[in-house]
């Protein structure tokens, strides 16, 4: 091949790199490993984690949940045709991904009660950021009322990106589990989580009323599992619904890759960030799918684009669609019901203990917060020795230092009973 190029050495390929910039000695790194040696090295790292399972039964949530990922999802969504495809820029050879995304968009709209959903964002936090950007652009206002009930990590991400966009957030504290909104503001939007970070069901009807009075948009970060039993945010009049799609088809994976859910009313379709798949026809009039309203996107609109999203989380969206289809209409309801039952059973047992109090008595669904005689992080540390990941310690913004406990459909009565027994021991 070098001869074809009239070259005599591989170094000549890099003639345009100035001599002074070239790495004479190559990279200061070890040489490559064989496949088995590489996997051995990776396994040694993996063994240094205590994985969730029978040895560490998971009661932690707070934005990442220990749900069942069925064999069907692992085998089907991770077929190499889906895994090793690029963004569907050539729709003639990308109908598989495009149709799967169209189905995902449809499912997400059915769950949220919205009319349009995009083809995914990075995670729950990035979906919140994009929802706020949409609301600011739609209203021309810069201030957003931000509930303390929104996941604290997501709120941190919102604050980080506000340094560039210049948005102002007004923190709205929660009292007895639900957000207290100021009633004299003229914000672009209200952002509320349902159920919120401490597990409580917010009053979305009141939030909608406030948004109407102020001419603001209502942005709801929802839990897609809860949608199996709870009204959709659309039912309460949300304008944009976002959320974390990890519970459907993605293991906890130390936090990623997850799935940013984004859906909204059709009025806002031209401000939707990222990719959107639409149905159309091909030259022979046959049904076909294609990414559409492309003029919104950064590669065409450049500095005038309202979002810079390009690479998204398509594969995770496909896994989400497969998992939702696997659950089906009845299965989704049953999943939600099983989470709520486990949560009730665990909560009742813990609250029966002396010294364990609820953070609030507002209704909860599949997560709840308690305060204990010792701080939450100490409870988690001690419970790990007993074989449980007891929950996620809550920050100071929620008052007394507490612990957020989550119960999924995977938790059995025996596991919960053992958890409660150990809890009683470690809080003293």
């Amino acid at each position: 091949m070098l001869r074809f190029l009239g070259m005599s050495s591989l170094d000549e390929l890099f003639a345009s790199v100035p001599e002074a910039l070239r790495l004479a000695a190559g990279l200061d790194m070890a040489d490559g490993l064989s496949e088995p040696d590489t996997l051995d090295a990776m396994e040694r790292l993996a063994e240094r984690n205590r994985r969730a399972g029978r040895e560490l039964v998971c009661f932690a949530g707070g934005g990442a949940y220990d749900h069942e990922v069925p064999a069907t999802v692992r085998r089907v969504a991770f077929r190499s045709e889906f895994v090793t495809a690029y963004t569907p820029y050539q729709p003639e050879v990308a109908q598989g991904v495009l149709q799967a995304l169209f189905e995902y968009q449809t499912l997400l709209c059915r769950l949220t009660g919205m009319e349009v959903a995009n083809a995914s964002l990075y995670d729950g936090a990035s979906a919140c950021v994009e929802a706020v950007n949409l609301a600011v652009a739609a209203t021309g206002r810069q201030t957003v009322l931000l509930s303390d009930g929104v996941n604290p990590n997501w709120r941190q991400v919102l604050e980080t990106f506000a340094a560039g966009t210049g948005h102002d957030y007004v923190r709205c504290q929660i009292a007895n589990g639900v957000t207290r909104w100021p009633d004299d503001a003229q914000p672009a939007a209200l952002l509320v989580q349902y159920p919120n970070h401490v597990g409580c069901l917010e009053d979305l009807a009141a939030a909608r009323q406030l948004a109407d009075n102020a001419g603001a948009l209502l942005l709801v970060a929802f839990d897609p599992v809860a949608a199996g039993l709870l009204h959709s945010p659309g039912h309460f009049g949300a304008d944009v619904v976002v959320g974390e799609g990890q519970p459907f088809g993605t293991p906890m994976s130390f936090g990623g890759p997850y799935l940013g859910l984004f859906a909204c009313k059709r009025d806002h379709v031209r401000r939707v960030p990222g990719r959107l798949v639409g149905e159309t026809v091909d030259a022979d009039g046959r049904r076909a799918y294609v990414t559409t309203l492309r003029t919104r996107e950064q590669d065409i609109r450049r500095e005038k684009a309202s979002s810079n999203v390009c690479t998204n989380q398509t594969l995770i969206a496909v896994a989400c669609a497969v998992q939702l289809a696997w659950l089906g209409t009845d299965g989704l309801r049953e999943l939600a019901l099983r989470c709520a039952r486990g949560t009730r059973y665990t909560r009742d047992a813990l609250l029966a203990m002396d010294g364990v109090d609820p953070l609030s008595d507002a209704p909860v669904f599949r997560e709840f917060a308690v305060t204990t005689p010792v701080p939450g992080d100490v409870v988690v540390e001690r419970m790990a020795e007993e074989g449980f990941l007891a929950g996620v310690p809550l920050g100071d913004e929620y008052g007394e230092r507490g612990l957020l406990i989550s119960v999924t459909e995977r938790r059995t009565r025996d596991e919960i009973d053992a958890f409660v027994g150990a809890f009683e021991k470690v809080i003293r």
Partner: protein, 498 residues
């Protein structure tokens, strides 16, 4: 790991031609796939668990399909999808290399997948060590001092980098207003600049296809926060004047941002840190073989020079004297840019790829990528226009400008004909500064036999009938799709159909 390229594209892959009904058409009442663990938890009713004002009446309609129907459906959809595992994917700027299967296995280890991201540090030492070692490896590869792994994609890395730039300038008195970008830049660059609170100033390319240094100097003043450069640039050319550019930008107090979209070309050859860059993002889904997943997930870590390290997002994994890892947020951190620790499993894949290749293997990646691109560029000389016909790096830009004037053959038609030949199309109409652009990046993982077949196909297409090419593709799952109709009569969901 031996990076020997393999495979020969002997024929167009067989793809599903018949339309596949949607899930919603396949749905039949009463069918289901789901099954749940036997738990023994008391079976309270919904009304006993949720207050009435929150409880939905009818369940959310999903679809009702059996496992068998579900598997057949998605398997058939997969047959209507081209992928790297099927064949060559010479998409310029996208680096669609083959993704070694060992990385799939590495990222599927239960000790990595079944770990809660908020679990306390003593329970997640393996993950924290992996992330810290990946940070270090990426710093060695780029010649930088410290890194964040949080950004989940290239564009997220860009915005993170711009916020680092802003924080740095704010600390030094004034955030400044402008960021300079070449006219050949990716669209994410100007979009990220806007979201970073800056104005884009465009600098033209010169006749060589490189940044016009004189024009750049005219644009530099003390209101310029920095410059974003891709090197090699989107024409596949190395910015030979980079040292001069870096000095000029630094002279006005600006910072240099390296867009790592094309890092594949220089692995082990040269490093952004040595060129004078202050901030570098990497696309692990390009350079480090994380598969693209039909559009994502990727990962876009950002590495910085020593003076910018205090501003990095946090928390970051830090090792103590006792060998134990803990989380630490840098003192002047811009804050979190991800819900958790970034696209962790994508990071694990990239780390396994780096381990398998090592420093020697990464250098061979760059050599083979550049060799393949230049072989194909030379093969196409005299057949297509080569507007910048000089030694390229890992990709090159050809054009059908002359073919269009001569017989009406457009870049789009070449792309569609190539689909019929069994290859994925190159990137077309980018960069914007080249008329009828075909941006071709064969990657290091394609063999000479595949390059020959690709070259032969491109020559056949150039010599073929232009009118005929307008009807291509005819052998793909669908033919050209009506994009105008999709936008005009928007159908974003199954339920939006008339």
């Amino acid at each position: 790991m031996s990076p020997s390229a393999g495979g020969r594209a002997t024929s167009a892959p067989i793809m599903g031609r018949d339309a596949e009904p949607t899930l919603f058409e396949l749905s039949a009442p009463g069918r289901r796939a789901a099954s749940f663990r036997t738990t023994g938890v008391p079976e309270w009713t919904p009304a006993e668990l949720v207050p009435g004002e929150h409880l939905r009446g009818d369940p959310a309609p999903i679809a009702e399909v059996s496992e068998r129907d579900l598997v057949a459906h998605f398997t058939r959809l997969s047959h209507r999808q081209y992928s790297v595992d099927l064949g060559a994917y010479p998409l310029g700027s996208c680096t669609m290399k083959y993704n070694p299967k060992l990385c799939d296995d590495a990222a599927s280890l239960p000790g990595l997948t079944d770990v809660h991201p908020a679990a306390p540090a003593p329970l997640t030492q393996g993950w924290m060590e992996l992330l810290a070692q990946l940070e270090e490896a990426l710093c060695r590869i780029t010649g930088m001092h410290a890194a964040t792994l949080q950004p989940p994609a290239g564009a997220a890395g860009e915005l993170t980098g711009l916020l680092l730039m802003r924080a740095w300038h704010e600390e030094h008195g004034n955030p400044r207003r402008k960021v300079v970008i070449p006219d050949s830049a990716h669209g994410t660059n100007p979009a990220s600049v806007t979201l970073g609170g800056y104005e884009t100033v465009t600098v033209p390319s010169d006749r060589r296809g490189l940044v016009d240094v004189a024009a750049l100097r005219e644009r530099l003043d003390d209101d310029v926060a920095g410059i974003m450069l891709t090197n090699p640039n989107t024409l596949g050319l190395f910015e030979e004047d980079i040292a001069e550019i870096a000095a000029a930008v630094h002279e006005v107090g600006g910072l240099l941002y390296y867009d790592g979209a094309n890092l594949n070309a220089i692995l082990g050859v040269t490093r952004p840190g040595d060129m004078g860059f202050d901030i570098v993002h990497m696309n692990l889904h390009k350079t480090f073989a994380v598969p693209h997943g039909g559009g994502g997930p990727g990962a876009g870590p950002v590495a910085v020079s020593e003076r910018l390290a205090p501003y990095l997002p946090g928390p970051r994994p830090v090792v103590g004297d006792d060998g134990a890892y803990r989380w630490e947020t840098p003192p002047k951190s811009i804050g979190r840019v991800h819900s958790w620790h970034g696209n962790a499993l994508a990071l694990a894949r990239a780390y396994s790829y780096i381990l398998a290749n090592g420093g020697d293997g990464l250098r061979r990646v760059a050599e083979a990528a550049v060799l393949n691109a230049n072989w194909l560029r030379t093969r196409l000389r005299g057949i297509y226009d080569l507007p910048y016909d000089r030694p390229a790096m890992h990709e090159f830009v050809a054009s059908t400008s002359t073919l269009k004037k001569g017989k009406g053959l457009r870049a789009l038609d070449v792309a569609k004909r190539l689909l019929e030949e069994g290859f994925h199309a190159p990137t077309v109409y980018f960069p914007l500064i080249v008329d009828e652009a075909l941006m071709i990046e064969p990657t290091e993982t394609e063999s000479l036999q595949t390059l020959e077949a690709l070259g032969d196909a491109l020559e056949r297409i150039a010599g073929g009938d232009a009118e005929d090419a307008r009807h291509a593709p005819r052998t793909t799952p669908v033919r050209r799709v009506d994009e105008a109709r999709a936008a005009r009569q928007l159908i974003p969901t199954w339920d939006a159909r008339e």
